[in-house]
């Protein structure tokens, strides 16, 4: 063909051949070593800043305690048994509150996504409640339920229930209609479609929803304990503040973060074990 214009052949190859930097390829894979060094940097950099600020004496230890003081506080709190006890108290609150919320929210979400009748009945009202911050309900809950364990569990329940339900129902609605249709043509009953098509199709999303929302619940337990408690990591932080023990506040916050990370990891592991077919790659 002679239709190619010489001008085009002169400019286009230039543009095409310009190599793009390999690690900045959009959504591209990078060598494992590059990735690892990024991770290490992201941890070391803040640590280095902390060391520099505290050991240089630029900042009062009251505001930023020295790393060794924090480490020692951690050892002390661990040995006295306070830290394990507090962590356990917080964990069990989240465990109970969040389990309740998932136990009711997941089936309800599945029903909302499956049946328009249930959707009409629940979705608007849950959608409204979702935008009412659970923290704002704390005074009411204290008034109604008191200051004891049930109140804290109720706060965690309220803080995660609406999200669990609505996110699961959305996931059901995203299941391709073809998967349902093909089920019917294979002889499935409505019951089969619900349990053998919709449920397994949504399961990866359910696990992911729980993983995302338990992070919220884990934050909430601290809020609940800041209000009224005699145990728990939130309570520990509040007490430390009263005695100006910044190092103990640091320990409390770090432990909360580490436990949160562990929970997240646990859910990711669960995902790989339960729905390996949905794992990318």
């Amino acid at each position: 063909m002679k239709t190619l214009e010489p001008k085009q052949t002169a400019t286009n190859p230039d543009r095409l051949q310009k190599p793009s930097p390999r690690i900045w390829k959009i959504r591209g894979e990078i060598p494992q070593s590059v990735y690892s060094s990024m991770v290490v940097t992201s941890i070391l950099l803040p640590l280095a800043a902390w060391f520099a600020l505290s050991y240089s004496g630029l900042v009062d230890p009251l505001f930023i305690p020295k790393p060794d003081a924090v480490a020692m506080a951690a050892v002390r709190m661990f040995q006295s048994g306070d830290l394990p006890k507090d962590a356990w108290a917080s964990l069990s609150r989240v465990g109970i509150g969040f389990c309740l919320s998932a136990l009711i929210g997941v089936p309800l979400g599945l029903l909302i996504g499956t049946f328009k009748v249930v959707e009409g009945l629940f979705e608007p009202i849950l959608g409204l409640f979702r935008y009412m911050p659970a923290a704002a309900f704390i005074p009411l809950i204290i008034l109604w339920i008191g200051l004891d364990e049930p109140a804290k569990i109720a706060i965690i329940f309220l803080g995660s229930f609406f999200y669990n339900t609505l996110m699961v129902s959305d996931a059901v609605k995203f299941v391709s209609a073809d998967l349902i249709k093909v089920g019917y043509t294979l002889g499935a009953s409505r019951r089969d479609i619900f349990f053998k098509v919709l449920f397994p199709a949504t399961l990866p999303n359910i696990i992911d929803t729980l993983r995302v929302n338990i992070a919220g619940a884990w934050n909430f337990v601290v809020v609940a304990e800041l209000v009224a408690a005699s145990s728990g990591l939130g309570y520990r932080i509040l007490t430390a503040q009263r005695f100006l023990r910044t190092d103990e506040i640091f320990v409390g916050i770090l432990v909360i973060g580490i436990i949160g990370l562990a929970i997240d990891f646990g859910f990711k592991l669960l995902f790989r074990l339960v729905v390996p077919w949905a794992v990318d790659k």
Binding site: D178, L179, K181, Y184, T185, L186, G187, S189, K196, A201
Partner: protein, 262 residues
Amino acid sequence: MEPRPALEVNQLSKTFATKNGPLLVLDAIDMHVNENEFVCIVGSSGCGKSTLLNIVAGLDTASQGEVLLRGRKIQGPGADRGMVFQNYTLYPWLSVAGNVEFGLKVSKVPKAERQERVQHYLDIVGLTRFANVFPKQLSGGMKQRAAIARAMANEPEILLLDEPFGALDCQTKEVLQEFLLDVAQKTHKTFLMITHDVEEAIFLSERIYVFSARPGRICREIPIPLGSNRDRTSRRTSRFLELRQDLTDLMHGEALLTQEAL
């Protein structure tokens, strides 16, 4: 006497309610598929082919008219009509064998027979080696073969195929057409397939219904007298090329007509 058709569609019409008022998509469709026959429906995009197949499958209802399967009126979806869709619809959480087994499980076929049938149909579609892998590890062509095995494992009275090879590249498509021809010849089942690929229709079917668009009507019924001993070389016979030319011209004319109507 003519044998009773496996599938009869009598005076079937379908109207959709849309924002701009009722939309007549299928207008008084009369057609049938005989036992062990392979019939194709061809027609341009949007002429209501999928709508018709969905009604036959029982996934949608007719506005008027009826569909009879071996003389029984169709009321809803059922395992007596298997369906293969254009989109990949294997269940991603089940292995290939699990997918093929799905219909047998929901119909409570005993385990021993289930396994036997799964093996048999995986063998027919040549996927025995892939029985235990997840669908995401299959190529597009293999996915459709598995979907065909899944539909056939139920041993339905008719197989409905809605452009099953529409998403595949040319080479894979040809191979799968030959595969389907082979399956049809081996299993003596009844097939109703939708396609807009003229060559595919001629290669596979014994009879073709040509649809015209807006509203969908049957504008021609064409027998394909290529006999039952076809293979890939049949595509190059002069008879085949002639039929292809005629059908292409016919569909081109139809397309022009609908363009004008727009």
